[in-house]
């Protein structure tokens, strides 16, 4: 269990995630990048300024 850098809630994850993989926080939905393994370390993923809807 590692804390979400966005909202502070615990993020439940497998331990076999690899650096660079993207996960989301179940509490705040933030997209998070795995920046370290064993134990997993997370950072906010670079936001894709995608067109979202309109």
């Amino acid at each position: 269990m590692v804390d979400c850098p966005e909202c502070g809630a615990g993020v439940d994850l497998h331990d076999d995630l690899e650096v660079g993989e993207i996960v989301d926080c179940a509490t705040c939905g933030a997209e998070l990048e795995v920046i370290g393994e064993g134990p997993v370390d997370l950072d906010t993923a670079p936001e894709l300024e995608e067109d979202w809807g309109e």
Partner: protein, 345 residues
Amino acid sequence: MTTTASVVGGTGFTGGELLRLLDGHPEFAVVQATSRSEANKTVGGVHPNLRHMNLRFSDPEDLDSVDVLFACTPHGVSMERIDRFRDAAGTVVDLSADFRLPAAEYYDDHYDGHDRPELLAEAEYALPELNRENLPGADLVAAGGCNATATIVGLLPLFGHDILSGGERIVVDVKVGSSEGGAGGGAAASHAERSGVVRPYAPTGHRHEAEIEAYLGTSVSFTVHAVDMIRGASATCHVFPDDPVSKGDMWGAYRGQYEDEPFVRMASGGGGVYRYPEPKAVAGSNVAEVGFEVDPPNERLVVFSAIDNMMKGSAGQAVHAANVALGFEETTGLAATGFHPIGSP
């Protein structure tokens, strides 16, 4: 041992929803549903989803003795008939506005006064997120208004977490579905006139302003729009705090307030299609979604809140409060989640 229940106003929208919930609730047995207009007809003749129920409407003049009576009648009926309701049932849960406000002045200012002001102190406001500690054992419970509930659940964490103290400017812009108007409806509620609208239906002076003020201790600038959905109420609160508030402060307040609440869920940014609270995402469930953004250039917080007005905004809240009042596990009979995909619910 099952608890017996009756629904007064069983042909209405909230009455039908209560019948659905009570029918699926392991602790309750519905023994009566009243209607003046459909007496002797089956419940399924009005509510097609309840065709399996073996129950016919009966006259509200002949109330059975039950453990809990749920009153789903228009404003004014409960205050007039409250003694008969309490004679019939040990616990009365009222869904109308008749016992929601804590003092007679509110009724003088915003309604046409109150017949039985002495009972207002006895009544407990149903919203467990606000008033859980006073509900156990309560025998007169008043479910909140749907728009007020959406707003209160959205703003509550800002009070008591050092973000707001009550004098700040708050604009609440609400969007609601057509079931809020009940099964009656007039010309404006016809399919042809009501479809596809963004219709300002209460530009100013909505009565729920009083309810919000009574329970949050703040005045709000409140405006309600009808939009094209049947179930759902969505409140967007534009809040102007005195001091800068960070996203971290907000998360602290909201997680602190709601982490253990079974029926409040956070949705605040992130990826995917459903990033903020939406009525669609909670339709059919008792969940309230809340979320927020900070807007430093405008010194503003934007808080979003979404509920199903038939559930968290009325019948679901009533059952939730009854569960607490009667000592049942809080979520009993209310565990159903929403749907995905779902249209205009």
